[in-house]
């Protein structure tokens, strides 16, 4: 949690080393007052829009409150909501759907992204332009673009089906990416990969570029084969960056909502019902506010835990 000290610690130390030649003219506000004056508005906003609602959610998670019946009596149910979520095989199924989605999309993105970064790092002519073009999908709105993918996935007329049928010979109308149980999860993985491989690539590229040339030069002197150089220099030294990308994509995909909601809405059946979709159904369709608050807290704590690890990884990369 306090690992951010990497850089700020350095700055603080620099400040300590700097002799106090600066005559502190305390005209107007003192430094401490300015510090608080500058930080307080941000903190107030976050308290109002993040912390207060969070505390409210925790409170609600112990009740049977329903937001569509504000006048009904609210009963304290203790840990019953948590208990029913954590023993419900259907919710567990949603978690495993999420897990499978996270696992496959991240695996594919990491392999593809690292390979691309490694190739771009060969610095061929025009690599800057192509890198920028590759980065485009990740900046776009997952919802708006994901929505358009439903058009590409249309069974008869969609471009995706057409290309697949041209490549494999299977008729374009013989499969439905979004409506068939075995295919629907992959439809989402494909869009996610299309969109976020550039993200992994960009971070891997930074990792590869952070490896100083002299290490490779030394390896050349030792006549290490390129294969050996890759496994003993390139990959280990880029690993913290790969970890960073994997962790962040993991957190993002764990709470994935936009794309799934627009592509399949959780269907067919519940084959693509990831945790966020379950939560949305409980909270905004069934209006079980107390129950979904407990669910929200479970997701929340999980993400918070992963965020702790992410910040640790961030600092390891920062110190490079």
């Amino acid at each position: 949690m306090t690992e951010q000290t990497g850089l700020s610690g350095l700055v603080d130390r620099a400040a300590l080393v700097t002799p106090p030649v600066v005559a502190r003219r305390v005209r107007g506000l003192s430094e401490r007052a300015i510090a608080w004056l500058f930080i307080t508005p941000t903190m107030l906003l976050l308290l109002a829009i993040n912390i207060f609602p969070l505390i409210w959610t925790i409170r609600l998670s112990f009740t049977n409150y329903r937001a569509n019946r504000p006048n009904a009596t609210v009963l304290d149910v203790g840990l019953a909501n948590y208990q029913s979520i954590l023993t419900d095989p259907d919710v567990w199924a949603a978690m495993t759907v999420t897990a499978r989605f996270v696992f496959w999309s991240i695996l594919i993105q990491t392999v593809l992204g690292f390979t691309l970064a490694w190739l771009i790092d060969k610095k061929f002519r025009g690599h800057g332009l192509w890198t920028t073009l590759i980065l485009l999908p990740m900046m776009l709105s997952p919802a708006v673009v994901g929505n358009f993918w439903t058009f590409l996935y249309q069974p008869q007329i969609g471009l995706f089906n057409y290309v697949i049928s041209a490549l494999t010979g299977a008729p374009a109308s013989s499969f439905q990416m979004l409506a068939q149980v075995p295919l629907a999860p992959w439809a989402i993985v494909i869009v996610d990969t299309w969109m976020w491989t550039p993200y992994v690539m960009l971070i891997c590229l930074a990792g590869l570029r952070s490896i100083p040339d002299y290490i490779y030069e030394a390896a050349e002197v030792d006549r290490a084969s390129p294969w050996r150089q890759f496994w003993s220099i390139t990959l280990p030294m880029a690993l913290p960056f790969i970890m960073l990308a994997v962790l962040f994509r993991g957190i993002e995909n764990f709470k994935m909502f936009d794309m799934v909601n627009l592509l399949t809405g959780g269907g067919p059946g519940s084959t693509t019902e990831v945790a966020s979709i379950t939560l949305k159904r409980e909270a905004f369709e069934k209006w079980r506010t107390g129950y979904s608050s407990a669910f929200a807290i479970i997701l929340f704590v999980t993400v918070f835990g992963l965020a702790n690890i992410y910040v640790k990884a961030l600092n390891r990369v920062k110190s490079r």
Partner: protein
């Protein structure tokens, strides 16, 4: 130069703190707890593990928050 010299006092102060309870190893334990909790939440094998995943993650998070205050 100065920077290195200034690091010494903190090291000295920390040395009174028992070694296994320093921040580094304790944070590693908390990280493992969080990771275990997340894996238990997401695994498809046993409902029991899923049931206790939240408690595990929560313990990891609480521990992480506390031990990050320990000296290095």
């Amino acid at each position: 130069m100065n920077g290195i010299a200034q690091d010494r006092p903190t090291e000295h102060a920390a040395s009174r703190w028992p070694r296994p309870l320093r921040r580094g190893p304790m944070e590693a334990v908390a990280t493992v707890l969080i990771a275990a909790g997340v894996l238990m939440l997401l695994q498809p094998f046993a409902l029991v593990l899923y049931t206790y995943s939240f408690v595990t993650t929560l313990a990891g998070v609480v521990m992480f928050t506390i031990v990050s205050k320990f000296p290095d």
